[in-house]
């Protein structure tokens, strides 16, 4: 643990604890409504059957019906207990949106949301960040269990990946020269801020660990000799520190994407960290399979299996559980990428298991796992972007939510 992270984490944990104690995330003031909720419910509109509102998704209805079809949105107050939500899997999380293909409307059909402006850098970062995390875990495992090949490969890959990550992140900024503004604040409400501090903690540790691998290259005498002597133990500590932060690094990116208004990202928040954790493990394993001799690669194979399991479960879940919002993950670029990821993952796992004795097969399966991770990350990225670009994914789930809320009240 580095110094930077503790206060934030503690603050946030405390904060969450208090929220939970206060009766969670839904305000409990429904009986004493603030503002003017009751007033707006007055009027002929309030008596219209809620079904009309659902029927009016996307349409005013014929001229004469406008009054009735138009109004219920305003009528019932919005603070009804979210019955449907609490029923979902994973607490309130898994809102299951079985929305039929329905008509919807928007202003000249244009997107209601602004699609992410993140370029491919961010998708690439999702991969490199995960790769770094997975590699650090691999390295730490190698370090603790005496598998120097895994350690070395993991540490070096981690440094490379985290360096690439930094590049991608800064390159994607509209004002790259202001990257250090990220360190102005530490905001628990901002996954990106949390991620920044995680990276701040992780980066130096991973770097030191990797540099330590270079200790034997230093001359044994002279000014560098103390360095040569001190580096390996420092690397051990740093490597473990990096590994400790690594799971956070690998999974916060799930929150990073989910913490947006992008429909298919946000609604996938239960799965995204899992997918990314799995993907990180698999990619780390891929490095191990590529770099380590068969004798040392056993943990990497098991990591590959575990990672693939998490990743496949998660990806399957987002492609099926979210109703309409699963659609963007199944079609178009995102669909192709995720299908490719699934195939590559499967191939990688099979190869890893089958190739216990074949360095070539191991290396191939390692490559497949890395490629799978890339494909999955880009697939998830594109799926979300597509969901933001089409107003359908904004309007219909929200309409459905209104309908259910109102139905729940009746």
């Amino acid at each position: 643990m580095t110094a930077g992270r503790i206060p934030v984490g503690e603050r946030f944990r405390g904060f969450r604890a208090r929220l939970a104690a206060d009766g969670v995330f839904r305000p409990q003031r429904s009986s004493a409504r603030l503002g003017h909720g009751p007033k707006v419910g007055v009027g002929p509109a309030a008596t219209a059957p809620p079904a009309d509102a659902a029927g009016s998704v996307g349409a005013m209805g014929p001229a004469g019906a406008v009054g009735a079809a138009d109004a219920p949105v305003v009528g019932p107050p919005r603070d009804a207990p979210p019955v449907a939500r609490r029923r979902g899997r994973g607490g309130r999380g898994g809102e299951e949106l079985r929305v039929p293909e329905a008509e919807f409307t928007s202003y000249y059909g244009r997107p209601i949301l602004k699609a992410p402006v993140w370029r491919w850098d961010i998708a690439a970062y999702l991969f490199t960040g995960g790769l770094a995390a997975g590699s650090s875990l691999l390295a730490a495992g190698g370090q603790l269990t005496g598998r120097p090949a895994l350690r070395r490969a993991g540490r070096v890959t981690a440094l490379g990946a985290v360096t690439a990550s930094a590049y991608f992140l800064i390159n994607d900024l509209g004002r790259p020269a202001r990257f250090h503004h990220m360190l102005r604040v530490a905001k628990p409400t901002s996954p990106m801020s949390v991620g920044t501090w995680i990276l701040t903690a992780y980066g130096p540790a991973a770097g030191l660990a990797a540099v330590a691998e270079g200790a034997p290259l230093l001359p044994a005498r002279g000014v560098f000799s103390p360095v040569r002597r001190l580096l390996p133990p420092a690397g051990q500590v740093a490597g473990l520190a990096a590994a400790a932060v690594a799971p956070a690094l690998a999974t916060y990116t799930g929150v990073l994407l989910a913490g947006t208004a992008v429909p298919s990202w946000h609604e996938a928040y239960p799965e995204l960290p899992t997918i990314f954790a799995g993907s990180a493990l698999a990619s780390g394993a891929g490095v191990g399979l590529l770099a380590a001799p068969c004798a040392q690669a056993g943990p990497a194979r098991r990591m590959a299996v575990a990672g693939a399991a998490l990743e496949l479960w998660g990806a399957h879940s987002v492609e099926t559980r979210l109703g309409l919002l699963s659609e963007p993950y199944r079609i178009g670029t995102a669909g192709r990428l995720l299908r490719a990821g699934r195939l590559l993952t499967a191939a990688g796992v099979v190869g890893a298991l089958a190739g216990r004795r074949s360095r070539v097969l191991s290396a191939l399966s390692g490559t497949a796992l890395l490629a799978a991770s890339v494909a999955t990350r880009f697939g998830i990225f594109h799926g979300g972007v597509a969901s933001a670009r089409d107003p359908k994914y904004t309007v219909l789930p929200q309409r459905e939510r209104i309908r259910r809320r109102e139905a729940g009240q009746v």
Partner: protein
């Protein structure tokens, strides 16, 4: 800036020590934001004016800093407009500060295909020459019955609806004294 000031100004420090632990408000405010003030507050002077577009006559306040117009907005005191402006009136600052405004005299020689530059003083002299010449060439002193006409129909003028009353007064006065009768403006259109 000392290290202490630097740290005290660091929003993370302010988060930890101040009233805004989540860093969403007070702690995150930048120095620039804290020092922000409306430029109308710091203007050197304010001219009370009237919108130059339609004839509703909305009151405008023209704010000037360093002899440049920095803002034009509605005058809330006006009983006509109550401080409001339409899009055109609201665009008045862009109008008067437009980079497209022509600020030098341009001259097109007969049969020329291009503009040339011309000194304002020279332009005025040339126009005076031409006015006198046109007058001389087209002067009508009396009609066929000997009744006075005292005029020229060789000079025309169109405009005045966005000009000041004082300007129109001098225009009409001078043209009338010149005998130039064909003076018209938008009111005929």
């Amino acid at each position: 800036m000392g290290l202490r000031t630097f740290i005290a100004g660091w929003p993370v420090y302010r988060q930890l020590t101040g009233t805004d632990p989540l860093g969403r408000g007070a702690a995150a405010q930048s120095g620039r934001s804290a020092g922000l003030t409306a430029r109308t507050e710091t203007a050197d002077r304010v001219a009370r004016s009237v919108c130059p577009y339609c004839a509703v006559g909305c009151g405008q306040r023209v704010y000037v800093s360093d002899d440049r117009v920095t803002q034009i907005e509605g005058d809330p005191d006006s009983p006509i407009s109550r401080g409001r402006l339409c899009p055109k009136g609201s665009a008045s600052k862009s109008l008067v500060t437009s980079p497209l405004r022509q600020t030098t005299v341009r001259y097109r020689r007969p049969y020329s295909t291009e503009w040339e530059d011309l000194d304002l003083d020279t332009a005025l002299d040339m126009i005076a020459d031409r006015v006198l010449a046109a007058r001389e060439q087209t002067w009508e002193d009396v009609d066929s019955d000997g009744r006075p006409l005292h005029r020229t129909l060789g000079i025309s003028s169109l405009g005045g609806a966005t000009l000041d009353n004082e300007e129109n007064y001098l225009i009409k006065k001078l043209f009338t004294a010149m005998g130039a009768l064909q003076i018209e403006n938008q009111a005929r259109i």
